[in-house]
Amino acid sequence: MIGGLFIYNHKGEVLISRVYRDDIGRNAVDAFRVNVIHARQQVRSPVTNIARTSFFHVKRSNIWLAAVTKQNVNAAMVFEFLYKMCDVMTAYFGKISEENIKNNFVLIYELLDEILDFGYPQNSETGALKTFITQQGIKSQLQTKEEQSQITSQVTGQIGWRREGIKYRRNELFLDVLESVNLLMSPQGQVLSAHVSGRVVMKSYLSGMPECKFGMNDKIVIDKQGKGGTTDEAGKSSGKQSIAIDDCTFHQCVRLSKFDSERSISFIPPDGEYELMRYRTTKDIILPFRVIPLVREVGRTKLEVKVVIKSNFKPSLLAQKIEVRIPTPLNTSGVQVICMKGKAKYKASENAIVWKIKRMAGMKESQISAEIELLPTNDKKKWARPPISMNFEVPFAPSGLKVRYLKVFEPKLNYSDHDVIKWVRYIGRSGIYETRC
């Protein structure tokens, strides 16, 4: 199991050091600093073995978090834990920075004591933690007995992510379907790989312990219903809109065995914002933009670049925050750009032409052309021609996912599904959206 956990600033100074196991000594702190943080080379692996001690690290801005062990631990668990640790810290005091960590070091030690015992991760849901690790300096006597047992039963209980007795005057929930669409396209316009990784993020403000059921246009579910249904037509019409989900994962509140057997998504949600599910699709993806590059080398000191982008969705919808990044060689001396729409600039420090368009409706086309002048070099190494990448945001889900329903049942309190105000929003963003040139 995890033998110790260290947090360093960018200089390699220790901000937090907590040792859980006897086999980890103080010298481990220095070993990591010397061999990883101060190493000359780029980090070649997130797991480092130094003198039979293994170090797992993640970096958040310029803060290093390192977990140390001498045993054959579950490596995936250690990284998941480190991410979780970051989440918990962010939930408590915001951005992970040297300043914040120093300001909250007592809190962090308290958290580390609670969520890691002898190197075994314990309940690390912020909802639960915040009920008893408060930094208010509560005197232990002030809590009533019921309060105490409520806390402990929540921390250890089956529904560790939600406390009892939550009340809202207005029961409300927000669903955000956030998708990032990833593309790798050849210069000839052939899709080399494309996939959507999506997340359903829920903000719930619901009283009591509500039982929820979530439905979407999952092909497997709809086909099943279609078979059971009376008319073939119903099956066909809904079948058109259904999507094939390659795989999905759920927040721990979702009953996985039920999903496995009936493919229904039922759960008691945590209070406030959380990620209900993640999914991935690869079939029938709507690619919102197509990039057509044309690069011509005119002699040894000049390049001509022409890039056309085409929007490929309903004309009534508007894409926003469009940015096309066209890489330029390292020996670029000057660039002249002409674009039909938006603004384009050559950024020497980033070795790229950045073309920004605020808004663009569907089924439109725009173009940029640039002349790049090069300094003659005798460097034999050819320019690697990095791909042209794109960023954008569109108000629909490129996977085609639709939320069909989210039903809420709370048998003990007297509000029904109809009383809950529900909001659904779809946002499609570019993930890694690249076209080779």
Partner: protein, 997 residues
């Protein structure tokens, strides 16, 4: 004062959020100030002071002097302050054990507190204080807490048992905590169950044979129920524990799989990977024709792909595991090639791993896509990545024959880029393509030759030289090309020198008339001017061959080369199976068994995949019978990937490589035996396989060429043609010959010599004894002994045929044994054994085989097969065989370990009538890897403190007392201390054996 002024400033900012002030550098006299503040009456001030103490502690300052003052603050109703004091205690209690006792009362009192959070806090902290006296007091409160009404306290107490066990295992057993812990598996609260499982699993690891977890269908059912309800972390503990269970039959296996599959949809990647581990393991038991088997295979792919959308660090862990899964069950991901395409922004460690998996998945169906990608990668920036991509193209060519032509043309395109390292890498892989498809692509040689000058890396130079030598007859100016390399012969690396030597000899055999001078030049460079024994020996062998029998030389040097295998970089199958059992863990990330990086006995037992249903084991000789029949299937050649980043990282500090290194087929044992390796390889005409070369194929049973069996005498001018060409040679030779006596004795002797090289003081090797009398084995008599040479365990066998008919087809197999000894390669009895003939074979052994405790511990059951029958016998090996070369313990560590091992583990022995003085004894023992850590002389006694490490990582410490004053008392006294006391007796036997011989 600085502090005061800072505090004032902070007040201006608001009193709370400015704890960072505690990190400011301090000055002399600080401890004194803190002391005063800690003893202040004001609570706030006290708390501030404790915070400052903790901050100093974090930065690494020694604030242990404040111990009593901090402990005084413990009695408080402020929970935050209490936790801070506890944190301090955990850090310093060990250095101040007496003072730590002061805290006991508060702990005991807190364990009775009405608030469950405080009860749990107390028991949690107490378990972290590693002071004997405190642990005594811990027992009663812990017992209560294990049965506490509050689940939060129980789950904390469960972990505390593991803590206590780590400090004092005996105490935990005596107090019956293990039983209470077992009861907690049936607890109503899932988190208590999960923590109890975690604690039990950990304790069980240090007692391999205790059957502590006692997994049976009932407990498994309880675990599976808890699995649905507990936290994500708890699910991981339970799944990891489940993976250690072996279902009784395929039906149970299937029902567990069914209940585990829903976990594949969990958001936590570790839960998913642990579930994959359980499924991969239990799948082994399912019949392949079962519908469910196919369903399961289909279900595994999507979650594995989803892991690749996690954060990069997790992606890396996932990819290392997928690499194993793809090798074990290629069918799972065969259609998912695209997801492994490299993204421009992937971190380099993700890129390299993806590339590896792409090659494994490459097949005729997707090769076009793969090649297009690889070509793209070859123009990237990162040098390592580009090199690997180029190499990958070569591997595709070798793997998918249909693509070879396209691969070669892609490589030629890349050579045209003239980027230096791309060209070199391309040449190295083209050499392998030539090996795989002889006489097909030689038209490109001209292009390769153009780049001769730009090659500056030994591997590329060696590859190019090989090509020139191999195709000398087609390259007009081959002699010029090779001659140009000869100029700087002594500045080249060994790899290049060896290759150059071989290439020129080939050239000479192909075009004898024009190249006499050249070959003489290289032979004299290699034999007379070089200090490198490898080179000298190879030179002499060629010289001899050429001067004795040029026809034979031609047959040997220009022999048909064995084809190189298609699959490269495969992990050796038994290791792969073991790693599959470790999916998700560090072992799967390093691709090494835990014993290679975990110290001590913990978790080093080898895990095995369960056997498929229906492969019933016969009662008499389990495993052996059926295994022998499988032996004839030669294990696939394994090629260590040189670019393996992690491997390199690990080797950095794991040196010297001991038997922990994964088992390798015999052809690779040459590391320490280059003399033999280089020589034999080249005799086989397998020149590209020098010891340092990257690609390595299995050298199939190196059959000694006829000529070398002949006595070579002094008659060098045996053949007239040679006599002329080597006219000057004999003059220089006699001295050289003396230095290489092996040459005269034929290859058999060479083999022995090779084996002996590298043994320092010479470990004691018992004489061969008859293990299997001819009476019992239809005329086959086997005698043998064991030896450890240059870190490799060998079983030296003599087979004598006392029957009337010829014996062939020998194979050998071991039953499971205490230390996992297993043949590291097939038994190589090369020629049929005719009646009354004896053949000596040295079989290298690895220690990564299946483990089962034997009685006696050093018993080894062996099965040998030949064309007549299968024969069984058992023999006992001296345990000194398992003593590894890096068994010398640091003095400090020795002291600490000696104290750490309980005295009941100490065993006393007497060695009678031994006339050695302490130095002689020490030397003798060192030869068998028993290392003297320290020596002390008290009165008339010399005491040697010695350490020994076994291949499975167990340390043994010994104290050897030798009387120096009285010549009449010749008895030595030996006391051995070890965590596994049952070994002591065998260690004593070794001492006896070694000291007496």
């Amino acid at each position: 004062m600085e502090w005061a002024s800072q505090l004032c400033e902070n007040r201006g900012l608001g009193s709370k959020m400015t704890d960072s002030k505690y990190f400011t550098t301090t000055k002399k006299g600080e401890i004194f100030e803190l002391k005063a503040e800690l003893n202040s009456d004001k609570k706030e001030k006290k708390k501030e002071a404790v915070k400052k103490v903790i901050a100093s502690m974090t930065v690494g300052k020694d604030v242990s002097a404040l111990f009593p003052d901090v402990v005084n603050c413990m009695q408080t109703d402020n929970l935050e302050l209490k936790k801070l004091v506890y944190l301090y205690l955990m850090n310093y209690a060990k250095s101040q054990p007496d003072m730590a006792i002061m805290a006991v009362n508060t702990f005991v009192k807190d364990c009775e507190d009405p608030n469950p959070l405080i009860r749990a806090l107390a028991v949690r902290t107490m378990g972290c204080i590693r002071v004997d006296k405190i642990t005594e007091y811990l027992c009663e409160p812990l017992r209560k807490c294990l049965k506490d009404e509050d689940p939060y306290v129980r789950k904390t107490a469960a972990v505390c048992v593991a803590k206590l066990h780590d400090i004092n295992a005996q105490l935990v057993e005596d107090q019956g905590f293990l039983d209470t812990l077992k009861d907690l598996i049936s607890d109503s609260n899932p988190m208590v169950v999960a923590n109890a499982v975690a604690a039990l699993s950990e304790i069980a690891e240090s007692h391999p044979n205790s059957n502590l977890l006692d997994l049976n269908p009932q407990t498994i059912n309880k675990l599976l129920t808890a699995l649905n309800e507990c936290t994500e972390w708890g699910q991981i503990f339970i799944l990891d524990c489940l993976a250690n269970y072996t279902p009784r039959d395929d039906r149970e296996s299937q029902s567990i799989c069914e209940r585990v599959t829903p976990r594949l949809s969990h958001a936590n990647s570790a839960v998913v990977l642990s579930a994959v581990k359980v499924l991969m393991k239990f799948m082994e038991m399912l019949p392949k024709d079962l519908d469910y088997y196919g369903t399961l295979l289909k279900k595994l792919a999507p979650p594995l792909v989803t892991l690749l959308s996690a954060e990069p660090e997790l992606q890396y862990v996932a990819l290392r595991n997928i690499n194993l899964i793809v090798q074990k069950r290629p069918e799972i991901l065969k259609h998912e090639m695209k997801v492994f395409f490299v993204k421009y922004n992937d971190p380099i460690y993700v890129k390299l791993e993806k590339l590896d998996i792409m090659i494994r998945l490459a097949s005729q169906a997707n090769i076009a896509q793969v090649l297009a990608e690889l070509k793209e990668y070859a123009t990237e920036v990162d040098v390592d990545f580009v090199r690997k991509a180029v190499r990958a193209i070569g591997r595709c060519a070798i793997k998918v024959e249909q693509s070879a032509e396209r691969c070669v043309s892609t490589l030629l395109d890349l050579i045209q880029t003239k980027v230096n390292y791309v060209v070199q890498e391309a040449i190295v892989v083209i050499k392998d393509i030539f090996r795989k498809y002889p006489n097909k692509y030689e038209s490109v040689i001209a292009t390769l030759c153009e780049n001769l000058d730009s090659l500056d890396e030994p591997e590329a130079r060696a590859a190019m030289i090989w090509i020139v030598g191999e195709y000398a007859e087609r390259i007009d100016n081959a002699d010029e090309l090779l001659e140009s390399f000869l100029e700087g012969f002594h500045d080249e690396s060994t790899q290049v020198q060896l290759q150059l030597l071989t290439a020129i000899v080939k050239l000479f055999l192909k075009k004898p008339t024009e190249t006499q001078e050249l070959v003489q030049q290289v032979l004299s460079l290699a034999t007379q001017d070089s200090d490198n024994p490898d080179l000298r020996d190879r030179g002499y062998i060629y010289w001899r061959l050429l001067s004795t029998d040029p026809v034979a030389a031609k047959e040997v040097v220009l022999a048909e080369k064995p084809l190189i295998s298609e699959e490269t970089d495969l992990i050796e199958p038994t290791l792969l199976d073991e790693l599959i059992c470790h999916i998700g863990t560090l072992a799967s990330v390093y691709h090494k068994p835990p014993s290679a990086f975990v110290e001590g006995g913990r978790g080093v037992q080898h895990k095995r995949l369960p056997a498929r249903a229906g492969s019933g084991e016969s009662a008499e000789s389990p495993d052996v019978g059926q295994a022998v029949s499988a032996v004839s299937d030669a294990p696939p050649a394994v090629i260590p990937s040189q670019g393996d980043l992690l491997g390199d990282l690990l080797n950095l500090d794991l040196a010297p490589p001991t038997s922990n290194v994964p088992p390798v087929p015999s052809s690779m044992q040459m590391g320490a035996m280059d003399l033999l390796g280089g020589g034999l390889d080249s005799l086989m005409g397998d020149e590209s396989e020098t010891s340092a070369s990257h690609y390595r194929t299995e050298v199939q049973s190196p059959q000694p060429p006829e000529c070398s069996e002949r006595e070579l005498g002094g008659d060098v001018g045996g053949s007239p043609a040679m006599g002329v060409s080597l006219g000057g040679a004999p003059v220089g030779m006699p001295a050289g010959l003396g230095a290489a006596p092996a040459v005269g004795g034929g290859l058999g002797d060479l083999f022995d010599l090779g084996g002996g090289v590298g043994v320092t003081a010479g470990s004691y090797i018992p004489p061969k004894t008859v293990w299997l009398p001819a009476m019992k084995a239809k005329g086959l008599e086997i005698s043998g002994t064991f030896a450890r040479r240059s870190g490799v365990i060998h079983m030296d066998l003599s087979f004598t045929n006392k029957a009337m008919s010829v014996m062939t087809d020998f194979a050998i197999q071991f039953n499971k044994n205490s230390f996992g000894l297993a043949p590291a390669g097939p038994l190589q009895v090369l020629t049929p054994l005719s009646p009354n003939q004896t053949v000596d074979v040295s079989l290298p052994l690895s220690t990564t085989g299946p483990v089962m405790k034997m009685e006696p511990l050093n018993n080894l059951q062996v099965a040998v097969k030949n064309n007549i029958d299968v024969f069984y016998f058992s023999c006992q090996y001296p345990i000194s065989l398992l003593f590894v070369e890096d068994g010398k313990m640091d003095r400090q560590v020795f002291l600490a370990t000696w104290k750490d091992i309980p005295s009941e583990n100490e065993a006393q022995f007497q060695i009678k009538d031994c006339h050695l003085n302490s130095d002689a004894a020490s030397n003798k023992l060192q030869g068998s890897n028993i290392f003297t850590v320290a020596k002390r002389t008290v009165d008339t006694q010399d005491m040697l403190y010695q350490s020994v490490k076994l291949t499975n990582g167990i340390w043994m410490l010994a104290e050897l007392r030798i009387q120096t004053g009285n010549p009449n008392s010749t008895d030595l006294e030996l006391s051995v201390k070890c965590r596994a006391p049952e070994v002591s007796q065998y260690v004593y036997q070794c001492y006896e054996l070694i000291l007496r011989n």
